[in-house]
């Protein structure tokens, strides 16, 4: 009763509260409106004949039989699209020397991966379109497939794009100098080779698009399951030559994206062209098999890494070489080089590291495109770093916590800069490390481990510390020439009834963006949250902005909403001051009432201000023009990125006879700055951890030697399921960024960033009594049995 009032006790105090998502009930009741649910008058359906070969020249295409099939309205090939669609090239200017071949919606002379869309069929129903895809006759001349990353770079390897002379898309180098000297003077040198499989997003809702071209105006409306409607508005406009203002992209309810739904896909571009050719709406929804062979894949790295330490376990230098396979071209418009670039820039990031050298090779191969997926590059960098740190600890005879305590950047050392040029405003490694140790009850776990080992039960404990990139400035894409915004825009209005509408450019894919924006607007305006309606995902309605990716929705979108709400509040108070004949500075808004700021006495209801402003402007004092709508944009300034940090712990039990690993428990301590909604942050982190554990134990796109994806179904591609997942306990440290009033950083990728690293360390810890190690993800039973020498 007598506890002091906190900020949470103020009226309309929503920031920091676990308020529920207003849209959750609708979605849980099955009443979401996804692109798949959209049915337009005169709408047709597209399906695609796909290449059975990973690499082949197209000798001839015969579509005459397909054209005669029932219900078929159009059959289109690559040449039909080349006449109306400008090709795209997935490079960015700031990646010097990067190359990638031009892409069209459908191929013209050759196919470069198995499953590539070859011929488009539009018919009255999807089933009819699929029937016709089987009637398309294509003659191929098969070419040798480039599959393995080493084979791709060897001399004499077939070159996928002969004009380039080789299969290397991009080479990156970082070198602080001093690495060779550090290795020469080292007490111990640790070396390991890591392999990271390809995996893919497997969103609950697959990719889906309805393109609706009206030749009369002309105008193009695209209902698109995407994270980034503005980016696609720009792309459809420029590649199909339609005025930007005549292109509308609508992203309705989206069933997960994880970075997968912001890339250009050939089928999606084709569907827009098909609608233009027909002047009718055309729908395409990827089925699960199509998703496996056409959604971007992620990761696919082979990293050779060395670390030098002194006798005390101090890290002296790291030297790494990353080769990553990206498919036959770089994805557009964000490229497939960002992943590898972030790997080499994030390695060693949590540590006091001076001497660092990294080489990166981004390699073409005959597989589906690899590009940005949740926690781009982070899990690779984190796994390499954290496994090296554990190996260093073993060499130096140090405990996993001790070696990190000795090497992590001190909490009082900020601001500082990483050897790769990342500027850190303020991180909290030391306090996170201490908090994790307490949460895990680490000493008890270790004594339990010793005791159980005597009884033949092999448990392992692994930890992994991480740094995460969030709130990116134009340094990410804009400087490279990509028309991808790092700013966001919001329009906030008071309705005539005194409710609030916020139209904002960040988008919702199920993570609660709209909830968080509503919390911020309600709190800063001083109204009940139920009276704030947040609208996202329609380029015709919401102002242009970056939308949602790379952990920017809360940090940048939230700050945009905050500043817009403050601006609107000032406008409201200005009108109120005219009506009340009082100084605006003495007034405030609480619970939808204009109050006396010092006494909180209610003066006039917000709804009454709105009524007067909209309907009885004649009663307002002369000269009063009420501005009850504001448009506001915010672009991050100051630090190029708001880095976050944290640490994860994983506890596993190894069945040393079968190679099966049971994940017993997982812990996360993370610091995303100001937490707006603790429940949503926790669930973001949990979901991220599950995806990281999927990469660690289950998910892998397996290709045959001829470049065929051999496990492209949900029976064979193993996504992590609830039964195998542990309880995930989450703790927080809050170090707000001072670059914004809100102070929020991203949290969506924290879970994925370090979960697989912690798991790898835990499994290696469990295998330690057998003298066995593993350095390949996913850690399948076969790989564990091999490491243990059973097979």
């Amino acid at each position: 009763m007598n506890a002091p009032l906190s900020f949470l006790d103020r009226p309309n105090s929503y920031i920091g509260r676990s308020v529920p998502r207003p849209n959750a009930k609708r979605l849980l009741n099955g009443q979401g409106r996804y692109v798949t649910d959209i049915v337009l008058p005169r709408m047709l359906h597209a399906a695609f004949t796909r290449s059975p070969h990973a690499h082949a020249r197209i000798v001839s295409i015969d579509v005459s039989a397909a054209r005669q099939m029932p219900g078929v309205r159009l059959v289109a090939t690559g040449e039909d699209f080349a006449r109306i669609c400008k090709p795209w090239v997935g490079t960015l200017d700031h990646f010097k020397g990067m190359k990638s071949p031009p892409q069209w919606p459908l191929p013209i002379d050759k196919v470069v991966w198995s499953g590539q869309a070859m011929v488009a069929i539009v018919a009255d129903t999807r089933a009819m379109a699929e029937d016709a895809t089987e009637a398309v006759q294509v003659e191929y001349e098969e070419l040798p497939a480039v599959v393995d990353i080493d084979a791709a770079r060897s001399t004499g390897s077939p070159v996928i794009t002969p004009e380039f002379g080789d299969n290397v898309c991009f080479r990156g180098v970082l070198d602080t100098g001093g690495v060779d000297d550090a290795f020469a003077s080292a007490c111990h040198i640790i070396e390991e080779e890591f392999r990271f499989a390809r995996h893919t997003a497997v969103t609950l809702e697959p990719r889906a698009i309805v393109a609706d071209y009206d030749p009369n105006e002309p105008r193009l409306t695209v209902h698109h399951a995407t994270q980034t409607p503005y980016q696609f508005q720009d792309l459809y406009s420029r590649h199909y030559g339609i005025a930007e203002a005549s292109v509308r992209v609508v992203a309705p309810d989206i069933g997960g994206s994880f970075g997968m739904k912001l890339h250009v896909y050939h089928e999606d571009m084709a569907v827009v062209g098909l609608s233009m050719m027909l002047g009718r709406p055309v729908k395409y929804v990827a089925d699960r098999i199509e998703s496996f062979v056409s959604d971007i894949h992620a990761r696919d790295h082979r990293v050779r890494a060395r670390m030098a330490i002194d006798a005390m376990g101090t890290i002296l230098a790291i030297d790494v070489d990353d080769v990553t396979g990206i498919g036959a071209f770089s994805a557009y418009p964000r490229t497939s080089a960002i992943e590898g670039n972030q790997v080499i820039r994030l390695i060693g990031a949590p540590y006091r590291l001076k001497n660092y050298r990294a080489g990166l090779q981004v390699v073409f191969q005959n597989k589906v495109q690899m590009s940005q997926y949740r926690a781009v590059g982070h899990p690779i960098a984190c796994t390499v770093t954290e496994r090296l740190v554990d190996l260093a600890a073993n060499k130096a005879g140090l405990d996993a916590f001790e070696v990190r305590a000795r090497n992590l950047i001190r909490d009082d050392a900020y601001p500082c800069e990483s050897p790769t040029g990342y500027r850190f405003e303020a991180l909290s490694h030391e306090v996170c490390l201490a908090k994790l140790r307490t949460m895990m009850d680490y000493d008890s776990l270790r004594s339990e481990q010793r005791e159980l080992r005597n009884r033949g039960i092999h448990r392992g404990i692994g930890i992994a510390t991480f740094v995460e990139i969030s709130n990116p400035s134009p340094a990410f894409y804009g400087v490279g020439g990509a028309r991808i915004s790092s700013q966001d825009g919001a329009i906030v209005s008071i309705t005539p009834s005194g409710d609030v509408r916020c139209l904002i450019s960040v988008t919702e894919q199920g993570q609660g963006t709209e909830t968080v924006i509503g919390q911020i607007v309600a709190e800063h305006l001083g109204v009940d949250r139920d009276r704030v309606k947040v609208i996202t995902g329609d380029t015709e309605v919401t102002p242009h902005g970056g939308a949602t990716w790379a952990c920017r929705g809360a940090g940048i979108g939230g700050e945009t909403a905050l500043q817009a709400a403050n601006k609107l509040k000032a406008n409201v108070l200005s009108v109120a001051s005219a009506i009340l004949q009082d100084h605006a500075g003495k007034l405030d808004i609480r619970n939808g009432w204009i109050v006396d700021a010092s006494t909180e006495q209610q003066r006039i209801e917000l709804a009454e201000i709105a009524r007067l402003a909209y309907f009885r402007s004649d009663t307002l004092p002369p000269g009063t023009q009420a501005q009850l709508s504001v448009a506001h944009h915010y672009a991050p300034q100051g630090y190029p990125f708001a880095f976050t940090n944290g640490i994860q712990g994983c506890h596993v039990e190894l069945d040393a006879e079968t190679g099966f690993v049971r994940i017993l428990k997982h812990w996360v301590v993370e610091d995303c700055g100001r937490i707006i909604n603790p429940l949503l942050v926790d669930e973001q982190v949990r979901g991220g951890v599950v995806q990281g554990l999927g990469a660690a134990f289950f998910e892998e796109c397996v290709y045959s030697e001829t470049g065929q994806l051999t496990n492209g179904s949900l029976a064979d591609y193993l996504v992590p399921m609830a039964f195998e997942m542990p309880d995930i306990e989450i703790g927080h440290v809050e170090t707000p960024t001072l670059d914004t009033q809100l102070g929020a950083k991203g949290c969506g990728e924290a879970g994925t960033a370090a979960a697989s690293a912690a798991a790898l360390n835990a499994v290696n810890d469990a295998m330690a009594p057998f003298g066995a190690t593993i350095s390949q993800l996913p850690m399948t039973p076969a790989r564990v049995l091999k490491a243990l020498g059973h097979i």
């Binding site: 089925d287 098999i289 289950f698 076969a782």
Partner: protein, 286 residues
């Protein structure tokens, strides 16, 4: 993907079903729970012109004990296998295997007869037919016959059921007080097809094994009885030595395929480990 167009028939007797099939030729397919067939249709891996839905034939339902046999109607759903008291009492291996069959939604619709008729070599129930010494009741134009499980599995997805014939019931010898049994599998995720699975049913006199049947699944084109193992165990006391002997003889029984995800050596290793653990459980049970 969408299935190709097909016709649909819903007979109400076995005779009607057989006649419908005969008149359609080889272009027909029976459908019961549809948990394997419907995905195959959607993927266009199969495209029959006529689906004959046998799910509404009363004669294919019901579970009844007759003397020393339990008759289980082919339409018995996996979820009923899980909960039926007669199955739990007289065919407990089926009950033990049932929770490992896919997921609840699939168990609610998938049928025991459908699983045994399809004979997926990675499925639990077909292998349990071997372990239990079951007999399969098959109806055809010439009448009804019973085929021993040992003679039933021929090759990959190929059984003693001839085209147009219908599996109508499964007959299981009822277990008695001297039986012991064990089942388990190793699957990457709960509900997945197992990398290896095993069920065994033995009749004991004290610690001595008078008779035992050991069946594996996910080891090749059909479920497999480990006859060398059975010979090694029969007549002896179940103990660490006989378990080791059984494990040593397993290589003579199994020649698992060498696929890229699971090397043959791994499957054989896991089969030995799993069988050792199951025999160990039977020691404890006794």
């Amino acid at each position: 993907m969408k299935a190709r167009a097909f016709s649909y028939a819903r007979p109400s007797t076995v005779e009607e079903a057989l006649e419908t099939f005969a008149s359609a030729g080889d272009e027909a397919s029976y459908i019961a729970g549809g948990q394997s067939l419907v995905p195959a249709l959607a993927l266009r891996l199969q495209a029959p012109q006529l689906l004959i839905d046998i799910a509404h034939i009363p004669a294919l339902r019901g579970i009844a004990r007759r003397e020393n046999w339990l008759r289980i109607g082919a339409l018995t759903r996996h979820c009923e296998v899980l909960t039926d008291p007669n199955i739990a009492r007289y065919a407990p291996l089926l009950r033990e295997a049932a929770p490992h069959v896919a997921h609840p939604a699939i168990r609610n619709r998938g049928t025991l007869g459908g699983s045994v008729a399809l004979a997926d070599p990675a499925s639990e129930f077909p292998a349990m037919m071997l372990a239990m010494g079951a007999e399969l009741e098959i109806a055809g134009p010439q009448g009804t016959r019973r085929v021993a499980a040992d003679d039933y599995f021929i090759d990959l997805f190929q059984t003693a059921i001839e085209p147009g014939e219908l599996l109508i019931a499964i007959h299981v010898p009822a277990v008695g007080p001297h039986h012991r049994w064990a089942f388990d599998e190793l699957a990457r995720r709960r509900g997945d097809y197992a990398i290896i699975g095993c069920g065994m049913l033995g009749r004991f006199a004290g610690d001595r094994i008078d008779e035992i049947r050991v069946a594996f699944f996910s080891v090749g084109n059909t479920p497999v009885r480990a006859r060398h193992v059975e010979t090694a165990l029969t007549g002896g006391r179940l103990g660490p030595d006989s378990v080791a002997e059984a494990q040593a003889s397993l290589a003579a029984d199994l020649s698992p395929p060498d696929d890229e995800h699971t090397p043959a050596a791994m499957r054989l290793h896991l089969a030995r480990v799993l069988m050792g653990r199951l025999l160990g459980r039977m020691m404890v049970t006794g």
